[in-house]
């Protein structure tokens, strides 16, 4: 039991670290990220949906950074696990890049 937990913890840490590393190196495609966000996340994160309504301007850049640094703590972490690293990066680029206090806050109509 403890062993399983430890492995899981290590895997999680590795996942987080690798995401962190790849975010530091590569840059995501924000436009792909917009498409992915709408396709995967917005199905729930919509007004009247099963989760809180979200768009890039829902959070500051610092807040989005925190979200992406702690994906394993999200309610929808299983959905996140289904996405590839690139997808993850792209979505990050879209949300972080158009956050509340970003240079180009999203004008979601």
């Amino acid at each position: 039991m403890v062993k399983k937990f430890t492995i899981a913890a290590i895997t999680m840490t590795f996942l987080i670290v690798s995401i962190g590393v790849s975010m530091a190196g590569e840059k995501g495609n924000a436009r792909k990220g917009k498409y992915l966000f709408r396709k995967t996340c917005r199905t729930c994160h919509l007004e009247g949906g099963s989760a809180k309504e979200l768009s890039p301007v829902s959070k500051t850049q610092a807040e989005w950074q925190k979200v992406f640094d702690n994906i394993d703590q999200l309610n929808c972490k299983d959905e996140w696990a289904k996405l590839s690293e690139k997808d993850n990066l792209d979505i990050y680029e879209h949300l972080y890049g158009h956050a509340f206090d970003s240079p180009s806050p999203a004008k979601c109509k």
Binding site: R31, F100, D101, P103, S104
Partner: protein
């Protein structure tokens, strides 16, 4: 209908017809039958006047109006007294709207170019053929050059959102607006200081410094009217402008500031306010970031130093700074609108924003405000993703902090001409006229000549339409049904306006909403446009149902209530969550975190700087050919001061040549003391190539022909005041 039958229209039949017009929408436009205007005895027919609401489109202000319609003919456009934003007025252009509707030069049916671009030879074609042709081009170019190989440019219009939606469904990132020829550097600066672009409460302000802006000619509602009202309430107006405009004429003080030195003036004002501690200490401590850095930074910018830069006496700079601070918080540096002037225009506006912040006028009566906004809903489309698309816009990376959604016309044009980072081969324009508004007309022509296909949707044969391959006729605003549009306007708060047809669309004109729908169908993108205008409006009204009633009864919806004191305790949308004197994001990107003054380039000998501006009757390029407005100004003239004019042997009304590295024009001179000796000026919208603008063809000069196309480094906004011209007798 025969002549005899039209005379006596029975009231029942009339109401039937008007019932049809006022049909199905949730936001029905009332056709009020006012009364019967009976003529003298002997005249048998009785004409009934219907009053129909709409919103003016002769500029971007969207003033509410009431059209007087007699027998389905618009006779007059009156102001809507309930339109708070316009203070119930309609300016010369608003009144002249009848001649945009009934313009003999209007486009009537789709046209396809015959012969070379710019030859002006056209063949008429059916809408079906026109749309099929356009769809073929969109498809072909999308396949050969990816969807990003097609550029879209939509102007400031209530239907532009559909062009953007089409571009999104089609899959092109290359969408630009007119705004990068106008105000993006201003928006950049205020966003990077306050986290938002606030609106100025001119009405309640007691001390207004207006650099440029020229509000009594370049009308912005309600600011222009409120400025006069405020004057009546003992408000003081200081105008800084190289030209003696009508605003300068009516100001308390006018300084013919040396062009390009606004920043020096405002840094010196900041210097005085900080040195003499004329600021609200609690406000600075609680709400701002970087004050100590600012204090240190402006130490060097004394009034004596600024006087040498600006040609404004240091004692006046000192006095004005003190008067300004004494009137705070009901004091402001008017942010202005068009900021397309210098290569550091963002930083120049940062200096305006910084002084405003020092005055503590944020969220105050008479200061910079962000009133409560109406948020209409929308119909979201889930656009597909085209895997073969490039990663980014074609103009990306050329400006330091470009607005992603607005882009940069100058950088896009350069990219298209270069073919880098990837080719653009198609262009669609809607309700925008870059041939007149984009500096350096020859470059626009060069850009167009690299394209495979260009299509333009417009009301008249503007110069941009003249250069296109396919020209599609749009209805004027008086013939259109538009979505709801929310606006923001300082002390009048915000509101919603919309349009319903005042008269049916004339000739074969079709609204761009219909055009993109038809194109979408032909490109298998119909699913993204399977809604009507009514559906769209319903979605917009979902969150704001109270708006429908006001629109129906008053023609406009206004939020009332205080426009200030509503942001207490809220964080700012900036990194520091405060008002930023010092911008750390700028620092990270290698941009000066506080504005650093750079001297404007010295004007070479025998040259002048040319500046851009407006007057209150011919403004946008669409207004110059309007018969009513044209009567007021039949051609533009070059303003030149008597001293250099005499030296050049130029007399008033003589034709002169004006040349720069971009081009050369001829124009009549207006010798006047109303401009600095080193500065010349001409109105926009003349010197057209289009022979179908019959009032003005062959008259005046096109300023875009001679303006060089520099750009603001930070935002990519066009910089139009960096051009030096030579003027000579012809």
């Amino acid at each position: 209908m025969s002549a005899t039958k039209t005379k006596m229209m029975s009231r029942r039949k009339f109401l039937q017809l008007s019932g049809v017009l006022a049909a199905t929408t949730a936001v029905t436009n009332p056709c009020r039958v006012l009364y019967a205007l009976t003529k003298d005895a002997g005249e048998k027919s009785a004409a009934e006047i219907r009053e129909i609401f709409s919103a003016c489109d002769m500029c971007f202000n969207k003033c509410g109006l009431i059209a007087q319609v007699e027998n389905n003919v618009v006779k007059k456009l009156d102001p809507n007294p309930k339109s708070l934003k316009s203070r119930g007025m309609l300016c010369a252009r608003g009144n002249a709207g009848v001649k945009q509707l009934y313009d003999p030069d209007r486009l009537k049916y789709p046209l396809l170019r015959k012969g070379a671009r710019g030859d002006g030879k056209w063949q008429r074609l059916s809408w079906d053929d026109a749309l099929n042709h356009a769809a073929e081009q969109l498809d072909r170019i999308g396949k050969e050059y990816t969807r990003c190989g097609f550029l879209f440019m939509a102007g400031t219009d209530m239907q532009s959102t559909f062009v953007h939606q089409f571009a999104e469904a089609y899959g092109s990132y290359n969408v630009i607006s007119h705004e990068s020829n106008c105000l993006l550097s201003r928006n950049r600066a205020f966003l990077d200081t306050f986290g938002v672009m606030p609106t100025p409460d001119v009405l309640n302000c007691k001390y207004v410094i207006m650099p440029g802006a020229n509000r009594f000619e370049a009308l912005v509602t309600p600011d222009s009217m409120d400025l006069m009202t405020a004057k009546g309430n003992k408000s003081k107006l200081i105008v800084l402008d190289p030209r003696f405009t009508k605003t300068a004429a009516l100001a308390d003080e006018w300084y013919p500031i040396k062009p390009g030195t606004d920043m020096a003036f405002f840094l010196a004002v900041a210097h005085v306010i900080i040195k003499e501690e004329l600021y609200d200490k609690a406000f600075i401590k609680d709400k701002t970031f970087g004050f100590e850095e600012l204090r240190e930074h402006v130490k060097q910018y004394t009034p004596q130093w600024a006087a040498k830069e600006t040609d404004i006496p240091s004692k006046d700079i000192l006095r004005i700074a003190r008067e300004l601070a004494a009137a705070a918080p009901a004091a402001m540096i008017y942010p202005g609108r068009r900021s397309s002037d210098y290569e550091d225009s963002t930083q120049i506006r940062r200096s305006y924003a910084i002084v405003n912040a020092l005055l503590g006028n944020w969220d105050q009566k008479g200061g910079l405000q962000v009133p409560k906004k109406v948020k209409p809903g929308s119909l979201h489309i889930e656009a597909p993703f085209y895997e073969d698309n490039p990663d980014d816009r074609v103009d990306a990376g050329r400006a330091q902090m470009m607005f992603d959604e607005e882009g940069s016309f100058k950088h896009t044009r350069d990219a298209v001409i270069e073919g880098k980072p990837y080719p653009i081969k198609g262009w669609m324009t809607y309700k925008t006229n870059p041939m007149q508004t984009g500096a350096n007309r020859n470059k626009t022509i060069e850009m167009i000549n690299t394209l495979d296909f260009m299509m333009t949707v417009d009301i008249a044969m503007s110069d941009t339409a003249w250069m296109a391959d396919l020209v599609l006729p749009a209805p004027s605003y008086l013939e259109r049904q538009d979505p709801l549009s929310a606006f923001l306007a300082s002390s009048t708060c915000s509101g919603v306006i919309t349009r319903d047809p005042v008269v049916p669309a004339m000739f074969e004109s079709k609204p761009v909403f219909w055009i993109v729908k038809e194109l979408a169908k032909r490109l298998d993108l119909g699913e993204f446009f399977n809604f009507t205008m009514d559906d769209f409006r319903k979605a917009q009204l979902k969150k704001i149902p109270e708006v429908a009633k006001a629109l129906k009864e008053d023609g406009v919806y206004n939020i009332t209530g205080p426009s200030f004191g509503i942001h207490k305790g809220k964080p700012f949308k900036t990194r520091s969550k405060r008002i930023e004197f010092y911008n750390t994001r700028y620092k990270d990107k290698g941009i000066d975190p506080m504005p650093v003054y750079k001297q404007p380039k010295t004007i070479p000998e025998n040259h002048f700087r040319i500046v851009v501006g407006r007057n209150a009757y011919v403004t946008q390029s669409a207004s110059t050919n309007n018969s009513l407005l044209w009567e007021l100004e039949k051609e533009n003239t070059l303003w030149i001061h008597p001293t250099p004019a005499n030296a050049l042997g130029i007399k008033n009304a003589e034709t002169v040549s004006v040349s720069s590295s971009a081009g050369k024009v001829t124009i009549k001179a207006r010798v006047t003391k109303e401009t600095r000796p080193d500065t010349v000026y001409m109105d926009t919208g003349f010197g057209v190539l289009s022979k179908n603008l019959t009032n003005i063809f062959g008259k005046g000069a096109c300023i875009a022909e001679i303006l060089e196309d520099k750009a603001d480094k930070i935002s990519g906004n066009m910089a139009m005041h960096e051009t030096f011209v030579m003027v000579a007798k012809t």
